[in-house]
């Protein structure tokens, strides 16, 4: 099976039901995408599938064949992702950092879809868990991104 990840096409030797997460981490050795729960609860494994945030731990690779997959490793090649990372640094968001690949993915997906998200949009989109409780810092970064620091492209 072939997968397109970060604009690169890979031949994958894995069962079609294998979760995308483990193909990214083990087959391809890209460990920026994290395993937290494996059951779509935490969001640590978030990637973009055709620009939309997706929990890769419950996404079989056979359903994303032919899609454009973006992982955290390529986030700065995306202009929106790049701005998200900049604001994450500016607001000193991460603590342990383990959830943050997923948080950055969720924020990027939101801002790609809605350049100026409302409070409700943000609440609806930013669902990932953070055991370190960085939620207020995430919120500050998102509001900064949403509030006129240049439009999302």
């Amino acid at each position: 099976m072939q997968l397109t990840i970060n604009n690169e096409t890979y031949d994958i030797d894995a069962d079609g039901e294998t979760p995308l997460l483990w193909v990214i981490r083990d087959n391809l050795g890209m460990t920026g995408t994290k395993y937290g729960c494996g059951v779509a609860q935490c969001g640590a494994c978030s990637v973009l599938v055709d620009g939309v945030v997706t929990r890769s731990c419950v996404t079989p690779i056979e359903v994303v064949e032919g899609s454009q997959i973006t992982t955290i490793e390529a986030i700065e090649s995306d202009p929106v992702g790049k701005r998200v990372v900049e604001k994450w640094v500016e607001h000193q968001v991460p603590q342990c950092g383990y959830c943050q690949s997923g948080q950055v993915m969720a924020a990027t997906s939101l801002l790609k879809e809605t350049a100026k998200p409302t409070e409700e949009d943000i609440e609806y989109a930013m669902l990932n868990l953070c055991r370190c409780g960085t939620y207020n810092f995430i919120s500050a970064a998102i509001h900064d991104l949403a509030g006129g620091e240049g439009d999302a492209q």
């Binding site: 072939q2 690169e8 096409t9 890979y10 031949d11 994958i12 069962d15 294998t18 979760p19 483990w22 981490r25 083990d26 087959n27 391809l28 050795g29 460990t31 920026g32 995408t33 994290k34 395993y35 937290g36 729960c37 494996g38 059951v39 609860q41 935490c42 640590a44 992982t71 955290i72 490793e73 986030i75 700065e76 990372v85 994450w88 640094v89 000193q92 968001v93 991460p94 603590q95 342990c96 950092g97 383990y98 943050q100 690949s101 950055v104 609440e123 930013m126 669902l127 990932n128 868990l129 953070c130 055991r131 370190c132 409780g133 960085t134 939620y135 207020n136 810092f137 995430i138 919120s139």
Partner: protein
Amino acid sequence: MTFDRPASAPQDLPTGAPVNMSRRRFLIGTTTATAGALVLGFGIPTKARAQAANMAPGTRVPAFLEIRPDNTVRFLSPFVEGGQGIYTAMAQIVGEELDADPSSFVVESAPAGTDYLVVGGSMRITGGSMSVRTSYDTMRKLGALARAMLLEAAAARLDVPVSELTTEPGHVVHAASGRTVTYGEIADAALDLEVPDPESITLKDPADFRWIRQPVERLDVYEKSTGKAVYSIDTKVDGMVHAAVQHAPRLGLTVGSIVNEAEVAAMPGVISIHTLPGAVAVVSERWWTARRAVESLNVEWNEPGADADPTARYMPADFSTAAFAERLANETGEGMDAENEGDVAAAFAEAETTLEATYHSQYVNHGQLEPPSTTARFNEDGSLDVWMPNQAPEQFQGAIARMTGLEASQINIHSPMLGGFFGRHFLYPHANPYPQAIQLAKETGRPVKLIWSREEEFLRDPLRPMAAVRFKGALDSTGMPVALEAISATEGPTEGIWGRNPESVDGTAVEGLSGKSYGIPNHRIAQVYVENPTMLAYWRSVGNSMNDFLYESFLDELGDTGGQDPFEMRMKLLEGNTRLQTLLQSVADLSGGWKRGPFEAEDGTMRARGIAMASPFGSHTAAIAEVSIDRGEVKVHDIWQAIDPGSIVNPAIIEAQVNSAVALGLSQVLLEESVYENGMPKARNFDMYPILSPDRMPRVHVKIVESGAPMGGIGEPGLPAVPPAVANAVSTLTGQRIRSMPLSKYTFES
């Protein structure tokens, strides 16, 4: 090689080179060495090596510091980074005296070794909120020693007396001639010098501090925002295979037989199946394959036999937390004294009003987002490399030496970034994956990375203890508390992990009931020891995480009985204690002045505020919570918290840590409880064990009060005052007494 190649535009994928050792540029030229050798080869120059034998921990400069030609400072931290910001704090403290900008630091965890035993000069753990406060002077001195060596080397280079030299960040200045040299230019010569006598060093006047007390940016934020930070679970080594385990459903059971072993062995990708103590494992080229296979194993588990390890805990098939809570509450003993002041019996006999109530705390899980893992690799020379999340490298090294028969010096402990810890990664019997990974590496003859699935983690995560505390309080004629007794039926984490000393109370069982500063003249705090069948653990803020909830909620209950306002009552009880009165006033001021409510908020909801205090880990805190009831559930709108850690290193990190501790405290009081039925945890993942989600996070307002008292901790102290502040607010708002957590078990009317 275990990586698939890209079908187009082949590129170099990670090869298993020592990616865990460093993530920054200056090591790129040194990757021909093995991972272990990178640390061992960490410039030990001749004179310093000759000195090493009799040097105190924290003084052998080359064991900690390497300054590269580009002036980058590589620093090996005695403490492991897990989000608490310790790498940055260390860079600030060492950099301050070294006169090097913390932003020029690249920090990694030190290996195991006596040089790094900087906690009291005899041990180290990353825990107990003690890293900075116990090593502050030592680390400042280390920076100053390094600076002195640089000055000496510069004097030789410039051929001038040391007394004519000064430093500016990153370089030495000879003002008379206008010449400068960068640290990087002279570092090799400097670190080859004998380390001066630490007693000969004068530290900076704090008035001249450039970085300490400043909100210096954390060093790892960019890496953590781009997926570049490397955790244990991300470890890659050449030739590595992956393993997954299935644990016995109850602690103490052993593997009887594997019914379908042949069938699973034939599954594609399965390399081997292994029997471990209380678990079975599958090794594969891929973790997902290993996990699927191991979960397909149909294992018959045996009850422990005559040969069972007598020190190991056994979980009976009829254990339930509901029954255990009842049992704790029905313990009638007087217990062993932790504190006994005044004449408690007489005070109760004389009192006009007394009040009794039993309060409960629940088991809670750590829920750190990175599941436990360990990578183990036996090397050709007989040494062993182990990568694992750990808060105590020497303890793990010692345990592995006992397990394998290797010398400690043959065991290289790697301590990557922690994906959260909260007490999870201490040495716990039956609760760390390293013995399994080492056994699997031995049996397969290959490096093995073992990851526990989240479900296996919930099955073996050791728990914050349960307690039932029988409180008794007495009021004087004005309604003020004059006597308080708290008898806790519980087992402390320390005695649970390390064994019980029947002669004394486990301090970690009662802290937060004990150590209170209130002027209640007659008080007795005691423990009735009740052994648990579960494994126990330290959890962020340890005993305080539950005991401050128990005590501060009962104190409000007592105050209500005496007609006291909770804020005024605490102020009065702290008479003569300027430090804590100031702190209490600070949190009231931060919240715009104390108001208890219930009151109507601008949005029309009815709200109330609760207040509580705590004194954990050498710091003091006071918190106020504002709550309402929304569709039957408690909603927390704001938390105001004042913290007095005596003196500080980084206010931005403190604010972040208080936010983090508030979140965990709220998660505990609102949502968390590890429920056991039939000897097994009901929750095996976050679906059944909800933790605080973004929509439940309140605004958090932090005030740092620097009283100038000896430095206290930061990582944990922000937690304990939060649960009781919330519970007290809820009691005020609803009229319903909150005597146990979590609040999700209660029914409230909106």
